[in-house]
Structure formats: structure tokens, C-alpha cells
Amino acid sequence: MERMKTLIASGKTPVARHYGPDKNKLTIKDKLLLGLSLSDYLAQAFRNPVNWIFAVIFAFGGYVTVTRFLFGLGYVTHSSYDYPWGLFLGFGLFTMVPLSASGFMLGTTVEVFGRHDFKPIERLALLNGLLGYLFAVIFLQVDLGQPWRLIYPMFVSLGPAAVLFLVAWHVATYLSVQVAELVPAFAEWAGMPKLKIFIKSIILGLTIAGIILSTLHQGALGALFTYAPGKVHPLWFSAPFQWFHYFCSSIFAGLCMLIVVSTICKKTMSWRCDSNFLDNLDRLTLGLAKGATLALITYLVIKIIAIAHDGDWGYLASGWGQWYMLEMGAGVILPMILFTISIRNNLAGLARFAALIAVLGIALNRLNTALFTFNWKLYQEIPHWREVMICIFVYSLYIVTYRFILYRLPILYTWKKDEEAVG
């Protein structure tokens, strides 16, 4: 955001305390406008070319999304009986959720294992988790036939033996846990210190709840496919290992997504980051890369064990097998090697590149399971263009919400104490 840099150069400072430069107490409105006047704020927003791209996406994609609710799912999808789940779940749920595992990973690292050196990036990890889950639920709401019945599995008609029942409850509970974990950032910004103290007193409980819920629902998303043993290609299906494949891959997915997001923050909103974030980022990136590498090697091993256990070696020679080996080679082994090189040689940049590949690899894996290799004995379904458009729309909404919060709440910077500001 070049405009923000010019404003800073002209003497404006981004809001990071309750008091303005002339020692007046800032209102919530001032904070929402980043300490700028309304006209200044709008001017900088209008001059940002990225916003124009979003405007086009919102105008067109918003229209298509509205038509889904006006004319039904049949208007925006191919209404397939054979492929009941399309991009909304294949991408929106099955890909977004593992990429949002960062919240519980960093929560565990800092709060449970006491690695306070990861603190500068903890809040970004929590926010990445919260927003990923929130928008996964929004994707789900677009996909559900009757979204207004979302609470039925909770209160109206309960089917507790179903895997999706577990997913529904855990995602709902985990969303509230993640909101609570981010309350301190909001409390600092809004000036509610008591709220922050309360959350701090229960943070260990929250974090452990997060681990339990994450283990189970990340695994449960994989277990959902064990309902379709004949439909998912055997190389992407393993009844005993499916849940562990999904859980284990969510570990590196979350860590790699965090590396990618922190890189974007550093490149596009360095004005909002403080030295605590920027100066530590290379070290933290390599730390996250270490964790991701351990998860990658574990994942690779259990993937191979699953093939051996199920006796699927023969499939590797088929066309599907080559596709599988491409996914594993490019999405798992390559980032693993690149991470190792980057850790050994202290190359944060290479680790960032490897993280991006691993994120794309996870997306490919989830789409392979949910769409590409699903019904491998039937025909291939190509999503309707309106379905693609709605996905782009909801994902853009996700990015803009993400940016809105990062600009304001103390995620990438540390909130300055009142005494420092006044004094």
C-alpha cells in the first residue's frame, strides 16, 4: 500500500496507542479510520489499485452469489447427483480448514510448550486460523441446501454417530475458542484491559481445548471420505489412515500458510508491522520451516505406509499413480528438500518459496480427494463457471476482511502502553 507509506512520510503515524499525536484520546472511529480523516482514508483507499480489482470481483461475484440464493444451487452448479460436493466444499472447506491449522499450532508452541520466542507471530497465526474457519463456514453456508438449518445438528435433530456431527460441533466450538484467543488483541485496541486479563487466566485451557478440537475435526474431514470407499481413488483413500493423513498434513499446511501470509504482510503492509515482527520474521520463518519439515517427513512416511498396508502399489503404475506421484513429489518431497536446504543455510527466502509450494500441494491433495479422483470409475466433473466465480468472491471477501483486521488490531505490531504515549 504505497499511499500509506506516503502518508507516513508526510508525518502521519499509524495508530498503535490510545492517544493521537497531539495527546488527544482516540475514539473508535479514529481507530477505524487508522487515525486519518474520512477524506484522507477514502482517498488512500481509492488510489490503491488492488481495491479496484476487488471492486470488480465484488460487483460481479457478489451478483452471482446473490443469484445462488435467489435461484438455488441448480443455477450456479451443474446440480450433479454423482458429485454432490463441488468447489464450495472441495476448496472452501477441505482446503481452507487445514490451511487454518496455524492457530492451534502456534497456540500450542507458545502457550503449552512455552516457546515465547514465537510470540511475535502468534497472533497472526491465531487470526489466520480464525478467519480461515469463519470463511470455511461461509463457504459451507453457500453450499448447504438449506443454510438456515445450520443449527439443526446442534439443537433440533441430533445424529451423534455421524462424522459430520463431530465436524459441526468441533468447528463451532473451535470458532468460539479462536475468538476468545484473539480477544486480547481486540481488548488492547478497544481499551478494555479487564477483558484481556480474563482471557489470559484461561489461555492454557483454551489452547488445550484447541488442540483436542483440531486433532479431531482435522482428522474428521479426512474421515468423511471413509464413507465413500469405492468412490475415492485407492491412492487417496485409506480407511485406517485417512484421518491421520488429514491431521498430519494440516500441521505443515497451517505452518506453511502462516509463512506465506507473514511474507505477504511483510511485503505489502510493512508500515503496519513493528520491528518486533519484522526483525524476528526471518528467524521465525526458519523456525516454522523446521516444524513443517518434521510434519512433512511424517506425512510422507505414513502415506507410504498406507499404500503398503492397503496393498495399493499396483496403482502407482497407472495414470492416476503418476498424478499421485506428482502430487507427492511436487507438494511434499520438493518443499521438504527446499526447507532442509533453507534451514541448513539460513535462507528465509527459500523457505518462503517452499512454503508456497507446500500450500499449493495441500490444495491439490484436498481437491484430488474431493473432486479430481472422486468417482474415478465414472466421469470427470468440471465445475460450473458460476461456482468458480462464487469461490473467487468469497475468497476475496476473506482477503479484504483479513486486511481490514490486520490494518487495525495489534496483530503485526505491539500496542503501546498508555504511560509511554502520554509521557
Binding site: 438455488g72 441448480g74 447427483y81 438449518r149 445438528p153 435433530s157 482428522g219 474428521a220 474421515a223
Partner: protein, 303 residues
Amino acid sequence: MKAMNRRKFLKGSLLGGAAASVIGKSKNADAAATFGGYPEAMGVLVDLTRCVGCRSCEAACNKEQGLPAPAQPFDDLSVLDHKRRTSEGAYTVVNRYEIPGQDHPLFRKIQCNHCNEPACLTSCFVKAYTKTPEGAVIYDPTVCVGCRTCMVACPFYVPAYSYSSVLNPVIKKCIFCYDTRLKFGRPPACVEACPREVLTFGKRQDLIKIGNQRIKNYPDLYEDHIYGENEVGGTSWMYLSSAPFEQVGFDTDLGTQPILSYVKEFLTVVPMVLTIWPALFAGFHLLATRKDVQKKEEKTEKS
């Protein structure tokens, strides 16, 4: 203060553990029940050797269930030129299969097979499905959220969805004419309409005997297998064929385990994680932060 925290924490994890064990138990009970089907369940034996593809069953189903009129009338047999599946407008369809080495084709009627342990039922998180003691798998549209997991789970690709409906899209599938006929002990509309006695309605256990008898009497005519006797835990609708079943469009790789048995591997993990994780990670926390705690204690001693 520290002791207080610890006590609070212990209390919390105990509560969590108790809750988890309750949940764990109910889950296990649901998951571990191996259900062979209701003993009095009814079924239908479909004898493909008798079917001539007249589509009378399709017409009867359409009328009985009040489905919309089809694009092509039921006496138009040209629809048999391509393979069809069940849809929101047709709960049963007949397909034609040319059999290599046979001078006449075989016709296969497709509808819900009404499994003993239905995958749709076990995958449903709002309990919209019920397997009735009469053998029907029925569906309650008033609780359905529209997640369509049942469509993913059904190994026979049977449930369809009324995607075109904006306000009330629901699952559409054969319910064995439960509301209008089966409940009163009467055969479904398609069975009554069949002019060739392709469909035999009766107790599932008797149908297996009848099927085996036919195979025994005409071993040259029939394949030595009743499709549905054991497939995915057994189904109420079963088939006899004169051609290998895979040549008549059947999936012969489904195995004899109910779909739920593939999911159990995960369901057994759930109570373990719920009970072990809290103590395990709390332990990790105490180990990982013991140096910090020691430092703090030393500080307080000094001061």
C-alpha cells in the same frame, strides 16, 4: 495463586474427562453395534432374466409418488438407448445392457436397495434417515440441512437432490412406498405393476431362499450369486442375473462390510483423543515450563 490455578485446571480437566467418557461411550455403542438387519424386514427379489424393459415399474412409481411427468412418455423405449440413474424426477429407472455372447439384452431396474445398514443413514448428522422394521429406508425432509453427505456415502449412487428448489431443496429417493403401501403390508407400486413377475415381494429371508432355489433349479441360466445378499452388509432389494453382474452395471467391488465399518477406524480414535489429550498436553506444558517456574520460585525466595 499458583496452586489455585493448578487446582482449577485439574478440576477443568476432570470435568472434561468425565464428559469425554460419556460421549465416548455413546459413540462406541453406536459404532460397535453390528446390525444384521431386522428379522421381519421385507424385500424384493429382482430377476433380470425375466425383465423385458417395458418401464411399467417406472410409470407406476411416477404415479404413486406424484412425480412430475417425464420429458418422454413411459412407453417411449428410446430412452433405453443411454444409461440413466435415479434423479429427483425418477426414483426408479431401467437400463439396457448388451451382453457379449447373448442374443438378447438384459434390463436392470435401479432404485434404492434399502440396505440393512444404510450408509446414508449412518452418515447423516441430523438423523434424517430411518431404517424401519419393515425394511424401508425412509427420509425426513423436515430436518435435512442439505449437506448431501448421504449422496457421497451411498455406494449405489441412489439419492438425488432437488437442486432447482430455492427454499426447500431435499433428498429424493425411493422409500419402498413406505407411507402408502409397505406400512400396511402391501407391496410397492412397481412390484404390483410389473407384468412379467420380475419383482418378487416378500420377507427378505424368504427371498434369499427363493433366489437360491431358482439358482439350484436352473444352474445354466443364473449366475451363482444373489447380488445384495451380502453386499455392503446386505440389502432389502436383491438381484438374480443370467450374466456376470459387472456386465449388467453392478459394482462388484463393494465388499460385504457395511460402509460404516470403514468409518469406525476413526470413530474409535475420538474417545481416546478426548480423554488422553488434555492430560498429555497439560503434562507437556508442565515439563516445558518447569525452568520458568523454578526461576520464579528462586526470585520469590530471594526477595
